[in-house]
Symmetry: C2
Subunit: 357 residues, 2 copies
Amino acid sequence: MSKTVLMLPGDGIGPEIVAEAEKVLHKVNEKFNLGLTFEQALVGGAAIDATGIPLPDETLDKARQADAILLGAVGGPKWDQLEMARRPEKGLLGLRSNLQLFANLRPAILYPQLASASSLKPEVVSGLDIMIVRELTGGIYFGQPRGVRELEGGERQGYNTYVYSESEIRRIGRVAFEAARQRNKKLCSVDKANVLEVTVLWREVMTELAKEYPDVELSHMYVDNAAMQLVRAPKQFDVIVTGNMFGDILSDEAAMLTGSIGMLPSASLNAEKQGMYEPCHGSAPDIAGQGIANPLATILSAAMMLRYSLGEEKAAEAIEAAVSTVLDQGLRTADIMSEGARKVSTLEMGEAVLAAL
Amino acid sequence: MSKTVLMLPGDGIGPEIVAEAEKVLHKVNEKFNLGLTFEQALVGGAAIDATGIPLPDETLDKARQADAILLGAVGGPKWDQLEMARRPEKGLLGLRSNLQLFANLRPAILYPQLASASSLKPEVVSGLDIMIVRELTGGIYFGQPRGVRELEGGERQGYNTYVYSESEIRRIGRVAFEAARQRNKKLCSVDKANVLEVTVLWREVMTELAKEYPDVELSHMYVDNAAMQLVRAPKQFDVIVTGNMFGDILSDEAAMLTGSIGMLPSASLNAEKQGMYEPCHGSAPDIAGQGIANPLATILSAAMMLRYSLGEEKAAEAIEAAVSTVLDQGLRTADIMSEGARKVSTLEMGEAVLAAL
Ligand SMILES: CC(C)[C@H](C(=O)O)[C@@H](O)C(=O)O
Ligand SMILES: CC(C)[C@H](C(=O)O)[C@@H](O)C(=O)O
């Protein structure tokens, strides 16, 4: 039974890095006889330019039918002046919410070969391996009401709503407890329960859930403290679970601790383990079209996709091993370049991974 | 004309560190003939224990009448089980909002004597000097409606409201532009304008305001990127301005970049420059009562108070010079201890500053 992978290159460096990941997928498809078929569609700014909207029906239909999705990145200054509803980001948010991809897994791993890329002292980050589990289809990202209204007297006021129900908290909690169970059995739930009522409920539900996972040690931390602790002593964390907005901030902070955000993949899963996979980094419009972007985060996202949504562990491991090989060979794109290494282009990096496969 | 300073020791290490700052204030009061008088009152957990509520009327009255307030810290596990409205934090939030202390100034400065305390590489943080301007009386901290409600079917849902009006944004914007003007003339406004409508308005108002400050270079950054950039290259920032929640997170992250959060003061000002001053760090219940907390952030908060609310620049500078002297002497409390330095208690550190005055 053939499985379908939908490729969504998106904007900025998206098309360049997805092209390399696609080659890698074709190669393992052949080598491991996976029987994958590939589709492609438009999302974000690319879709706006072609159709006027960031998430065309055709794209959404293809996404629903696909077994897994590989996304590059969306957004860029070209579309920054558009009103909220027509921005590239709405394409991404629309996919997340329509497919109910509520569980966003963002590993922050320091590759030993790239230890020197971090802005932190080696002893603080060496061996770093954190998994951030971010709720992705709720919270203030989707909360209603939202908008800008006029107050008496004509002054404008902007407003958004931060909202979570017990069941939303419980389902992301379960994903996080399960992930911790597979790892070092430590889960830190991040909230602002000393100020925000919605996160008081969050803390309560997490505490209740903990009874079902007696083998996992649950702790709670305020978000300001978590932002601090990630800088001070990131290795104290195993799995972190938090809401959409705090997860956006903390996962980017954690990714940057490694100094090599161009290496970090992510997965967004729904209850059926259908998933969208994308690099942690953005569309980097400043270097788009120059052929210098790092394709490895996207290639590693393809590996995550094979593992979590397609059940092809062997192919996933082969890709990860190939990436490790090219790093050992001293190949580096500009973002992770260091003295003594060989600087390569996006294309050369992709070819090197193919060769190592 | 005598000016009044209200001391609010609060909880945890609060009483210990405020005691040292008070001695320092008494000393400069005498030395510079400032004519200050001192009052004391209860807030936070200490007030709950004595009166049942975190912000007694008597405290609020004294706060209104004072020319400036020096606060230690509030909160601790002892009061964590109380419902939201009766928690120690409500004492702090109540003071901020009743006195309309909307402008929170949080410097993140790396003291050259303490450079090795940072978890970041020396070249990344040496000379670091950022000012974070956080809006403190609005946003999601105070937005209505808020609470926990029951949905159809009996499930609970928590909700909070993130809200800003143009005038609230404008007044904090002015403070930030003025601060940038006094410094390196670079202001970075942090928002999430690609997702949150309230921050689209934020960005608009900041952009409008920029016309009045042509000498200041305004940039905009998404909060996730800001959390990342603070880790990657913090020295790119001069002044950062942002809302209450993002400011809470980013100011703690920025403070921790220095590795010596026990050194960082903060000021919360209203339109009349009346202000509340407090260390950036919390009440540290784990080390309370042991006499080992670092009093320098509170002593430096007293210096900020002399400068911003009491107009006593000379006395402020004298305190700052004394702090620098004790660091040069190699005196360190446990939190900033390093090899070769002399470890001192809270009391010894306070006495050393007095001696240096
Ligand atoms: C592009 C943007 C809408 C998105 C988000 O905020 O979720 C991005 O920052 C991310 O983290 O995937
Ligand atoms: C104690 C808490 C309510 C407070 C806040 O979140 O504002 C603290 O974290 C701070 O930053 O001053």
